[in-house]
């Protein structure tokens, strides 16, 4: 029987606006890239919902997250110290899936690097050498993380201020590469980036698209239907990010309705 569990922070490192947290897990813990931990961030009763965090890495006995300070919940989590225990559920959600024969590119925007970096490691372990592109706003935002991922995962960086890597957005970087023969595109990042990327990638109908989505979430296990995205089938229907996703095949989603969302 699954259960919520307490996991101790065994390592914590700040990289500018994000903090990497390594949690000590049970030896039986196993997770795929794209899955998330659903974490209780703070005093029960004041902030009431858990927050989903995509795994940045996971192995038997440990799990890593990348926490970006975006509000009181994430700031609370980023402020925890080594030795403190965190209340987690997981791993939850549908992961990325890939085939060893694919020529694939990985694209991340901002803190969306977490599941993409994990995917890159999983692919490397299977002998695949994906090309990873990561877009950030300013070179300094993530401190040494771009440099680390450049060395470790051969990531190509785009920064909008041009201070690190290519000057421009990650999609502009991608276009500048004139990539040919791509079988699959995997991405996580801001909603607008995913929409633009889907438009680019869908020009070639054969290209597999897998995108990890983010949405405000309550239960995390498909019960409340709170965290939905528009589905292509049935017309007008929805899929839950927590259970049906967070990773979706591009064809499963209704991109027209996704584009129409102007609320946030």
């Amino acid at each position: 029987m699954e259960a919520a569990f307490a996991a101790a922070i065994v390592e914590k490192k700040a990289y500018g606006c994000v903090t990497s947290i390594v949690l000590e897990m049970s030896k039986s813990f196993q997770a795929e890239s794209g899955q998330f931990l659903h974490i209780l961030c703070g005093i029960q009763g004041e902030r009431i919902l858990r927050r989903p965090y995509s795994l940045f890495d996971a192995a038997s006995g440990s799990a890593s997250l990348l926490v970006k300070r975006a509000g009181p919940g994430s700031s609370w989590l980023a402020d925890r110290e080594e030795g403190e225990e965190i209340d987690c559920m997981g791993p939850l959600g549908r992961p990325f899936s890939f085939a060893a024969s694919d020529r694939c590119i990985l694209i991340a925007g901002g803190a969306g690097i977490a599941p993409i970096a994990f995917l890159s490691k999983k692919m490397s372990a299977q002998g695949i050498r994906p090309e990873l592109f990561w877009g950030i706003e300013r070179g300094g935002d993530y401190d040494l993380l771009p440099q680390l991922l450049r060395e470790e995962l051969h990531a190509e960086i785009a920064s909008q201020d041009g201070s690190t890597g290519y000057q421009g957005t990650v999609l502009e970087l991608l276009k500048s590469q004139e990539l040919q023969g791509i079988d699959a595109v995997y991405a996580c990042g801001p909603r607008g980036m995913l929409i633009d990327l889907a438009e680019m990638a869908s020009r070639d109908r054969e290209t597999i698209m897998q995108f990890s989505f983010e949405e405000r979430m309550a239960c995390g296990i498909g019960a409340c239907k709170g965290c939905v995205v528009p589905a292509s089938e049935p017309p007008g229907g929805y899929l839950t990010v927590c259970k049906d996703g967070p990773v979706f095949d591009g064809k499963e989603l209704d991109w027209r309705r996704l584009k129409d969302r102007t609320w946030q």
Partner: protein, 312 residues
């Protein structure tokens, strides 16, 4: 004095025997399947399933959730697969457990409510129907009935005639006088009441000036709602003779005991399930400790205790 084996947690309401008085609220527990990996369903007193409508319902556009201080706004909009699939896939599955099931029934007009309730009753797989006339998230049905005692009573009588199960009516505190509403549906044939539904509420993003929810407004649940629920139960318990399931922002065993002391015969846990899937089972244990500490022989002694002068 408490019996040697500990206080009796079992309660009986409208002929349904519950092993303990803690249920789970409609919409916060799916149809049980989603949670069966997280706790033993037979540790619950009962389950109230997510609202079901006659036909599949897509629900409202996202964003559907917004967290506020000590509360949650939702505008799910009754997303569900329709009564036929619900019976075949979910209710049939739930029936393998020794667990009383209330089915929350919603609709967009009189006939739909009646048809869904009749179908559920005829299936023989439910223990009770909970009539959802107070959903704040649909334009037709829902709140339209709960804003008028006459309308609520009319629908209650129609559904009462169509089913062979205990009928609970779920009321909103967003009404001029909840006592009048409660008395009207009791007179129309309701066998029990669920108090209270989420409260209509709204939040705005000041950076954009736009509503946080795509549906503009939603229903408020969570601790922020709790004391409103206590007052509603307190007022209604005085004027009706039918059982009340108290619900609204229960966050710990004290909140559950409080609703019972205000007059509820049973209590349902809602939004807390999201933060802690094992909450109900934990609260049952804590309630047992409280009863033992206070030397109550059974949990039913808490019901309406405050009106009877409290613990003497």
């Amino acid at each position: 004095m408490a019996a040697p084996e500990g206080p009796n947690l079992a309660v009986e309401i409208t002929g349904i025997n519950l092993r303990n008085p803690l249920l789970v609220c409609s919409g916060t527990f799916g149809n049980g399947r989603e949670y069966c990996d997280w706790l033993n369903l037979e540790g619950l007193g009962g389950i109230i399933t997510k609202a079901v409508t006659l036909l599949p319902c897509n629900g409202n556009p996202p964003p559907r959730l917004w967290e506020v201080t000590a509360g949650l706004l939702n505008s799910i909009g009754l997303e569900n697969k329709g009564v036929e699939a619900f019976l075949q896939e979910d209710l049939a599955w739930l029936n393998r457990f020794d667990l009383p099931v209330w089915v929350n029934v919603a609709g967009f007009c009189d006939e739909e409510y009646v048809e869904v309730a009749r179908t559920v009753s005829d299936s023989g797989m439910a223990d009770a129907v909970e009539l959802n006339i107070s959903c704040p998230n649909v334009k037709r049905g829902g709140l339209q009935y709960s804003s008028s005692a006459t309308e609520a009573a009319r629908l209650t009588a129609m559904v009462r005639d169509a089913i062979n199960l205990p009928l609970y009516v779920k009321l909103s505190a967003r009404t001029a006088d909840i006592k009048e509403m409660a008395m009207a549906v009791e007179k129309a044939g309701a066998n029990g009441l669920s108090l209270i539904n989420t409260f209509p509420a709204m939040a705005i993003d000041v950076e954009t000036g736009k509503p946080r929810l795509a549906n503009v407004s939603g229903g408020l649940s969570g601790p922020a709602l709790h004391s409103i629920a206590v007052m509603a139960v307190w007022e209604v318990a005085e004027v009706v003779d039918i059982p009340i399931i108290g619900m609204g922002g229960v966050w710990n065993w004290k909140d559950a005991a409080e609703l019972m002391m205000a007059g509820a015969n049973a209590v349902a846990i809602g939004t807390l399930n999201f933060a802690n899937p094992g909450a109900v089972v934990e609260i049952v244990g804590e309630l047992r400790s409280f009863l033992t500490r206070k030397e109550f022989s059974g949990v039913s002694e808490l019901v309406d205790l405050t009106r009877r002068g409290g613990i003497t």
